[in-house]
Symmetry: C2
Subunit: 488 residues, 2 copies
């Protein structure tokens, strides 16, 4: 039988009703305020034609209303499918259909996108926040307990095949992720966590989950603005913030000679190891940086490096969270220390699989271990070094970009015979995607770039297209993406 825990938000509102749950601009909600709002919404959403563990897609900005909707869905055990704002209507419709969502909750600022979506998927029922207010109220739909195996959220991620896969994140995954993080970072009554990363990413959603599990305030921002955030970090109200390198650079630049309040205790840095220069700047400014390694499939960080170790173990991702485990595999066997192999992880924060992807599940999960596809090694003290992200993943300003997905689009162009995509370094975004194509006849780069723009979210569109005679491949004709750069 799956483990049961009390409904997170309901329990939190019972235990510490007066603690601050959420701060947004000039507004503030206690857990009791939040629960009251959420209860109303949950009862209204429950009046729709849905039942427990059905999916509803959400296309929503970082706002208190979104927080309320996310919690409302949890109250009635409905799975939220989080759509990245930056996707094209085509990409969104794929995820909506793949997840079996018949309802999309969204808001007026996405009006244009919603029109496109409607054209592509006529039967979809699109509901705005305003519509929710006008729904009927169902009696007693609120769950007293969450079943840890039930799916709380679905976020799509791509892989080598190019088709995005829905990662099933259970209530248990979120719970254990929050607990593992608390055992690592500690937990203080005065903690407050800045959320200026998108709620549709696991980095953002995991902050909301921690908030109710810990009884901790979230300082929510619609967008990342270094001036606004720095102002907050100087006050001492907040103690922790989730960032990617790009954000940290901008914060430090803007900070100049000022120093954060001494209460501020953790920059949780995701999206790959930080460059030495960035760590040194942080050290100089007394900003404690916890680097981390994680993915949608591990419900945020699974490995972290403490600030004390950040320069001694430069480039390392650190050690696993307490409930999680780590090993390096090669040719079906665990490898010795200091030997490169596939990073394999295990823990109650790791997804139970991809939605309706039997094949991917069979190849990625073995005996309770998840094969990340990332390449790395453990040093003699057990610190993880990530050498290559899976599927030659490109991380651009914190967004994951999968070359295969872009290659698929390039290859769909009638004059493209072969296509390869890789990341090239970029001073602001870390990396940006670049395309390499073999064509059947002469073609302009701009034409291909426009072609991509129509089919891909903007951040996925190659910044450069190189026309080449052949792509680097191995003996079995597999594309060697890592060697693409040599063609420049």
């Amino acid at each position: 039988m799956s483990q049961l825990l009390p409904n997170f938000l309901k329990q939190r509102a019972y235990l510490t009703p007066n603690r601050t749950a959420l701060i947004f601009e000039k507004e503030k909600w206690s857990f009791s305020d939040l629960y009251k709002k959420v209860e109303v919404y949950a009862k209204k959403i429950a009046s729709l034609d849905i039942k427990t563990q059905d999916s509803i897609a959400v296309l929503l900005s970082n706002s208190p209303q979104t927080v309320i909707i996310i919690h409302a869905l949890q109250q009635i055990g409905v799975t939220a499918v989080f759509l990245n704002h930056r996707l094209t209507a085509n990409e969104m419709v794929f995820q909506i259909k793949d997840s079996g969502s018949k309802i999309l909750i969204s808001e007026s600022q996405f009006e244009n996108k919603l029109e496109e979506i409607t054209q592509l998927y006529n039967d979809l029922s699109i509901i705005s926040e305003v519509d929710i207010e006008e729904l009927d109220t169902k009696k007693n739909p609120i769950l007293n307990e969450f079943r840890m195996d039930d799916v709380c959220s679905i976020m799509y991620t791509s892989g080598t095949t190019g088709k995005p896969k829905g990662v099933l994140q259970t209530y248990g995954n979120h719970w254990w992720s929050a607990v593992g993080s608390a055992l690592n970072l500690g937990l203080k009554e005065e903690d407050g966590w800045v959320c200026a990363v998108p709620l549709f990413h696991i980095s953002g959603l995991s902050i909301l989950m921690r908030s109710v599990i810990y009884g901790m305030a979230v300082y929510l921002y619609e967008q990342f603005d270094e001036k606004e955030i720095n102002q907050q970090l100087l006050t001492g109200n907040v103690t922790i913030m989730s960032v990617v390198s790009t954000m940290l650079y901008r914060l430090i630049d803007d900070l100049e000679d000022k120093r954060y309040h001494e209460n501020f205790r953790c920059m949780l840095l995701g999206g790959g190891p930080a460059p030495k220069s960035l760590l040194e700047s942080c050290l100089e400014k007394n900003i404690p940086v916890f680097q981390s390694y994680g993915m949608t499939e591990t419900s945020s960080q699974i490995v972290t490096l403490s600030p004390e170790d950040s320069l001694i173990k430069l480039g390392s991702a650190g050690k696993p969270l307490f409930p999680s485990q780590l090993k390096i595999m090669g040719e079906g066997k665990p490898l010795e220390l200091n030997t490169l192999g596939e990073i394999v992880v295990k823990g109650p924060n790791v997804t139970k699989g991809y939605l309706n992807r039997e094949e991917a599940n069979l190849s990625n999960f073995k005996e309770g271990w998840f094969y990340t596809g990332d390449i790395g090694y453990l040093d003699e003290e057990g610190y993880l070094f990530v050498v290559d992200r899976r599927s030659d993943l490109i991380i651009s300003g914190g967004e994951n970009i999968y070359p295969a997905e872009i290659e698929e689009v390039l290859l769909s162009h009638p004059m493209v015979k072969e296509a390869g995509v890789t990341g090239v370094n970029h001073s602001l975004w870390g990396q940006v995607p670049c395309g390499f194509v073999v064509t059947t006849q002469s073609l302009e780069a701009d034409e291909l770039i426009n072609y991509c723009h129509e089919r891909l979210a903007k951040y996925k569109v190659p910044k450069q297209i190189y026309f080449v005679d052949a792509l680097p491949r191995n003996a079995s004709n597999k594309l060697l993406r890592r060697k693409l750069q040599d063609l420049i």
Copy 2:
């Protein structure tokens, strides 16, 4: 399938090898030091004729050696049966046999008791720490993972029947108890927990479990000595201490005009609500007292009251830990607020049952809820008030005393016809047991007291015996222990 987590101590020694694990007198062990010692012991104990989930009884004092043995048993998945030092040999042998233990690990200071035990149970193999050192070494017995459903420890507790029952405490129970406590009290890197309560009680053992799960130092004391502890609490090295009222009185008395270091953040008080005068003294001396309600079956606290609420909600036990739930039942139905009924609890920290006590398990566990037998109510804000401990439990200096167990001994005397035992207030111990008997012929109180001394641990022996004509009983002839006091 039962959930797996990494072997607690092994994982802790990998993640934070250099953090302090244990401090005893002038000695100090890091988690790495501790694990190395434990590994040696585990391999030696594994060479005995035992297998995973067999039981070994332990009769050990609060010492580093005991900490090592407790962890060593966990490393090889052997269940530890904790014997209270103060029990008679007869009582101990009952627990050893009932738990199916063929081996008892003990130490020279219990020599006399061990001789008595040997006389009563010839086949028992008694091993001292010195003997362990001389055992063979088994290869690779150390578990990589703990199965959360496996039984880690057994502690005996009595009930209405008078026969002690073995409470099965799983690895999961200890894990969730530690996590629930951290979510309530917070968790700081500088935390250190004073353990001056016995390791054979759940109050002591739970500190050891938290230590490895949190990566926190335990300041271990063989005995409670207010002067020594106060000295420690003044330094700022320790931040939390587990106490019962008796200990807290003695600490405060000895403290005089001095004040604890500002790092000290929590007196975790077990064993019933504190009197107002004690809370007021603590408030005046700036000592934050967290009152708690719990039992062996809940693997330590399950309900706590924060210092802010301690005077507003005087006499309340507080609210449940986050993963746990609470309700008040009467006649098979949950009761309204402010209505007296049986306290019923649920949570992953609650025991899965009593060893080999099918009947007690059937009557105490229903639909995942544990019926404590304690009487209480919830106020309008959901705070628990415990009005009567189960089976008229007497709590004397932190030890649980069950009247039924003493009554059974009194009734076994040839001249005693009826017997009732209740607690009467005592300035130092909180309560002490007093006996009320109806005899067939005239008898001296001293004779009965001596009779008890031969059969019961000293703290259980009635301090007074009253000879009466009849005992107060209800219509169905059930003894009304609460009315015994009126006979004085």
